[in-house]
Symmetry: C2
Subunit: 105 residues, 2 copies
């Protein structure tokens, strides 16, 4: 149960999660999307895995990574609640933002 917020702090890790949000990707696919050495990406995978933000499954010689959407959601809603985004001053919340908040509720 490591810190998910720390895992979200790095832009590469956020991008990885964003890519995995659409569909599962292999380690190689993900590594290919960044101008970084594979071991560096592997390190980022480990951080995300430790935070339980992603899961991995072996598929022959390749490893398939998946986003743990519910855990990501929980982390973000945790932040929203901590700062009570959407609550008073409610009048200041823009409609589009309010709609977004309502949807994830």
């Amino acid at each position: 149960m490591s810190d998910a917020y720390k895992a979200l702090a790095h832009p590469v890790r956020r991008e990885i999660l964003s890519m995995l949000r659409d569909r599962a990707h292999t380690a190689g696919e993900l590594a290919g999307a960044f101008d970084l050495a594979k071991p560096t990406l592997s390190g980022h995978f480990n951080v995300l895995k430790s935070a339980n933000l992603i899961t991995v499954e072996r598929q022959g010689t390749t490893l398939l990574y998946r986003a743990n959407i519910s855990v990501i959601e929980d982390a973000l809603t945790g932040l929203m609640e901590m700062f009570r985004i959407g609550e008073a001053p409610a009048a200041d919340v823009a409609p589009a933002k309010a709609a977004l908040l309502r949807r994830q509720k």
Copy 2:
């Protein structure tokens, strides 16, 4: 426009923002809420200030810190949008089939 997400990664800084969410606090008040030396807290204030997450106003000998609610909101909604929280997750292709598709490609 520094990295707000990095600023949100530290539990003490999140707690500071949470406290400031209710009302402005002086540096001393905030420092008193944590079991850390004042210079340490001052450092955290700087990180939050650099990320534009808080503002400061001198009030005599004391410094009054305020949360920049709209910026905090923007950061969080930015994350929500990045991961499209609230939207239906993409139907994930079964692992075996995904591997097959990858080889065909």
